[in-house]
Every structure is written in C-alpha cells, then in structure tokens.
Amino acid sequence: MNRTIVKAEKLRKVYHLFAEEIAAVDGVDLEITAGEFVSIMGPSGSGKTTLLDMIGCLDSISDGTLEILGEDVSSTPESQLVKTRRGQIGFIFQDFSLIPSLTALENLQLGLFLAGKQTNRQKCLEMLDKVHLSHRCNHLPKQMSGGEQQRVAIARALVIEPDFLLADEPTGHLDTATTQTVFALLKEINAQQNLTIILATHDASIGSQTQRTILLKDGKIAS
C-alpha cells in the first residue's frame, strides 16, 4: 500500500472580512497517496490557492483535520508550521519566485540552505542539468526567459529532495509552447522519481493530462 501524503477531512479555511465570514475552503475531504499527480482545478476564487497553502503548511487551518506526511497539523499555529514544511515540501509559484540577486546555481544552493541541508554545489549543477539548464547556471533570473526561470524554480524545489511538490499555477505566465515544455518536465519527474505532485491550474488542457483532477467550486469539491 502506498504511503499517504495528504489526508484532509472536512477541511475549512475561513477569512473574516469586517463582519463577514468568507469560507475560501469549505469542507474538503481529500486523500492523496505517494506517486500521484493530482491537479486542482476550478474558476478564479474557488479556493485552489487557499487549499494548496494549507496542504503546503504555509497557513493554519480553520476547521476539520489535516494530516501531512502522517503528521497531524490540524491545530498547529502558522508560526510552527515551518518545521513541517522545511525540507519536506517543494514549492513552485506562478511568477517564478527566484531571488533576483542570486544566480540560477545560487538560487538552488539557497534552497538547500533554507531546507537545512548541505549546500552541495555538484548536486545543484546536476539538478540544473536535469532541467536542461546547466549552461545557465551563472545567469541571474533577469537574464533568463520566463520558461527558463520556471525550470530553475522547479530545480530549486527538487534539489531539496522533497516528499511532495506543490505547484500553484506554474504555467500561468507562460505561452502555450512553453507551458507544454514545463508541464512535460513535471510529468517526467513524476514518472521517473515517483514524486507526488499537486498542481493548481486554470488550464483545462493541463488538468486533463494528470492522473486525477479535483474540481473545486466555491471552496467545495464538485467532482
């Protein structure tokens, strides 16, 4: 039996805006096991980012239970969640999120450093080679295209050898051709390393290519 990566029951996230309560995620039951490639889809404002943030231990939950990598984080405050995410969860964001003052290689080394792991240069170079960017290792983010930057960001998430990967609209800022390259890379990683990937996207052409799609609507699972 495959290891459970994420297990959520009646998961809720409520925002208080003045007197109003906004349930961004409203009673989600979810189980994701190791090796899965899951996409979360839904219209804008349906709660995709909010759900990913809780799964990624970036934000505390309001209600229900949440287990990440077998650890119950249901009542862990935000300030303590860093211990759970550090070194275990890889993040990829929509706008590339590389540190502008550091080169591609240094961005990877920083990833290892912050994950509390050895900043092994050789390992970083190998990882850049894996995303076909070894010739760009000494380039700054602004010297690279959006697609290249996103591949560096993927390499940075992978180099820490995380237990699973979270990607929030990783292709949101890319053109169709580049989107396919980046997505193909993610699929390859999932297939070769059996690494769990959870990806939020608007793009139905991408959602349809993953093993499983979770459709969100108004914070609830629609299918």
Binding site: T49, D53, G56, L58, D59, E78, S79, V82, R85, R86, G87, F91, F93, Q94, D95, S97, I99, P100, S101, L102, E106, Q109, L110, G111, L112, F113, L114, A115, G116, T119, R156
Partner: protein, 394 residues
C-alpha cells in the same frame, strides 16, 4: 552560501541607495572621530605647550587673569607692566629653582603678510631664560654679546619670515633702531618660534620702559610647594600669580562652549544617519515582501530572516564606519585649519590627533548603531506571514 554573502548581494541590488546610506553613516562617523580627535589633540598640544614654557608659575601685573592667560600663551605675558623691583623681591626665595624676567612688546609692521601688515613680537630676556628652556638650541650663532647689546636672537619661523641670517641687520618699525642678528633658534614647535628676542635691558631702553616687566616665569624646586608659594607671592603688591595648571583649565573653559556645539552637531549627524539606515532597510524589506514570503515557504525560520536583514543593516553601518574613519584620517589637517580659524586660541602642534583606539571605538560604535537600527526592520521582516507576503506581491 551564508547569510553574509546574501546580505552583500542584496545591498548591491540597489547600489545608489546603499551608497547614499553608507555615505550618511560615513559622514556621521567622520564628524565624530574628528571631534574626539580634536578633544584629544587640543588638550595634548595645550599641555605640551604649557610644559614647554618651562615654568609652573607666572607673575604678571594685576589685571584680568583670562586675558593674561591667553596673552601669555601667545607670547609670554599680558601687556601690562609690573615693576622690576617685584622681581628682585621674589628671586631670592629658597623654593625657586629658576626664575626669569620677561618684557614683551608687539610692533605693527606694515610690510608683513605681503603688504597687509602684521604684528611682530619682541621679547626682552635674561640669561636665565635658557636655563628654563634647556631644549632651546641654536641653529646658528649664539647668545647676546652683552646684557645691553643691540642684538637679537630670532625664533625659527621669525627668521624664515624675515629671511635673516646671523650677522644680518634687523629694523624695528617705528623705533628707528637697527639691531644685529646674533643667533637663530632651532624650531621648538612652540610660540617661541615666532618671537624676536632681545636682551632685557635693550628692550626696556628701545621701548622706553625702564625698570618694567610684563612677566616673571618661575620654576619651583618642588611642585608640591606650588600653592604655598602662590599664597606667599600675593603679599607682594601690584602683582598677580597665575599657575600654569590654572591657565590650562581656563583655556579649556574658553573652548568648552565651542566643543558643546560641535558635539551637538555630531549627535545630530548620528541621529540623521540612523534614521537614514532604518528608512533604507525598512523600504527594502517592504519591497521584498514577496521574496521574504518565498524564503519562508522554502523553510527559512524567523530567526534566519531576522539575521539576514540585521546583517544588511550591520554591513551598511560597518562600511560607513570604515569609510568614515578613512575620511577623518585624511581630512584631519583640513579640519584642523577650520578649527584654528574658529577658536579664540589654539596651541601650536597637532590640534586633531586621531589615535588607533579612537578608530576602533568609532567602528565599534557604528556596528552597535547598526545592531540597534536593524532591530525594527528585521523584526518587521521576520514577523511577515508567508501566505500574505506571497499574495501581496502578486
């Protein structure tokens, strides 16, 4: 990959801003170091000037002791006259090791300073003068041929200014008198360098002041007896006694208000620099909100974020401290020139003395300021909630 190297790279990102902030700290540190150096240098030079007068007590005619104190440091006594009888009365005191009478006269020479005119100081002295100042050496020539000779001995700078050598003649403006240069002193680094010395009797005769003195310098056998001697001398009519320790205190009082003002400027400069540092770092923290959120997502602890921003602040302040020290060192002569113009009296010798410990203190001070200035921005950065920080940037 460590905190410091990331901090350096972050500062390089906004070069002009970092340079300006470092510049602000540099100016504050340079001002502070210059002022502290002045404090030290002025006292040192004043003390050495006073020591080099060779006497611990000066007897002058009754008058304002403040005026007498400055006049004396500028050349040997207030221009008030006391009777030579008083000197004869004092000189036999057993507690005195050396005693020397002086008569100072200043003459306006219209040809000095390229036609602008200036004062020449003449001083009538006695053989005993050389015993009080054994370090006064002749560069050329020697002592007066007789106690009433029409001769002069010139201080080093006076001789250079007038371009005189031993054997040349010198003319006293307005006195219709020609004297011969008998000797020239080596440089002493004191006021003596600018004075033209004459035998006491000759001076009294030329300036029409028979039996008059402007001052009497006294060196005691035992410095412990100074207050008792001072007390006893007050019984001699028509004179006042000034101790050199008192002169030193009086002059330091004279410059105290100037020092307070200068120190206030330094405090303001430091205050402005600190505000500048906080502003710069805070601005860069807010600009990097999303980046800080990403760092936190990747596992950065609060402490790591705090340390990174703190390191940036301390870097700015340390660099400012180092540059400020260099500026203070290279500009100390210029600062000296400005101070000499402002103050009522400046001793000869270096006025701004920048010593190694001062540089170390200044740098340490800058680092401490960085530690303090960095607290708030670092706290703001480390308290950011990752989701909010990441979303705010989008």
């Amino acid at each position: 990959m460590n905190t410091l190297s990331i901090a350096v790279k972050n500062l390089r990102r906004k070069k002009i801003r970092s340079v300006l902030t470092i510049g602000g700290v540099s100016i504050a540190v340079a001002v502070l170091v210059s002022l502290m150096g002045f404090d030290k240098g002025y006292q040192q030079s004043l003390t050495s000037n006073i020591d080099r007068m060779g006497y611990q007590l000066l007897v002058t005619a009754k008058g304002c002791p403040y005026e007498a104190a400055t006049m004396m440091l500028k050349g040997g006594g207030g221009l008030r006259y006391m009777e030579q009888d008083a000197y004869d009365q004092i000189r036999s005191d057993q507690r005195i090791e050396q005693i020397t009478p002086q008569l100072v006269a200043t003459v306006f020479d219209p040809d000095r300073a390229e036609g602008e005119g200036g004062f020449v100081m003449f001083m009538g002295i006695h053989d005993s003068y050389m015993k009080l100042k054994p370090w006064n050496k002749f560069k050329s020539g020697g002592w007066f041929s007789s106690p009433d000779a029409d001769e002069v001995i010139m201080g080093f700078e006076a001789a250079e200014l007038e371009q005189r050598n031993v054997g040349d003649e010198i003319f006293i403006p307005g006195k219709n008198k020609i004297l011969k240069v008998a000797g020239i002193f080596e440089r002493t680094g004191t006021q003596d360098d600018g004075i033209v010395f004459m035998p006491l009797q000759t001076t009294q005769q030329i300036f029409g002041l028979p039996g008059k003195l402007t001052g009497v310098g006294i060196k005691l056998k035992d410095i412990q007896t100074i207050s008792k001697v001072e007390e006893d001398l007050y019984e001699v009519p028509g004179i006042q006694v000034i101790s050199m320790a008192q002169v030193r205190g009086t002059i330091l009082n004279l410059i105290a208000s100037a020092k307070i003002m200068a120190n206030s400027i330094a405090v303001i400069a430091i205050f402005i620099a600190v505000i500048g540092v906080i502003n710069t770092i805070l601005m860069s923290v807010f600009e990097r909100t999303q980046e800080i959120g990403i760092l936190k997502a990747m596992g950065a602890s609060r402490f790591q974020i705090f340390r990174l921003i703190w390191a940036e602040t301390i870097l700015i302040c340390s660099l400012g401290g180092i540059i400020g020290n260099i500026v203070a060192l290279t500009a100390s002569r210029a600062v000296e020139a400005i101070i000499v113009n402002i103050l009522p009296f400046t001793p000869s010798g270096p006025i701004v003395v920048i010593y190694p410990a001062l540089l170390v203190y200044a740098l340490a001070g800058a680092v401490v300021l960085g530690l303090i200035a960095g607290l708030y921005p670092s706290w703001r950065a480390c308290a950011m909630v990752p989701v909010e920080a990441i979303r705010r940037g989008e």
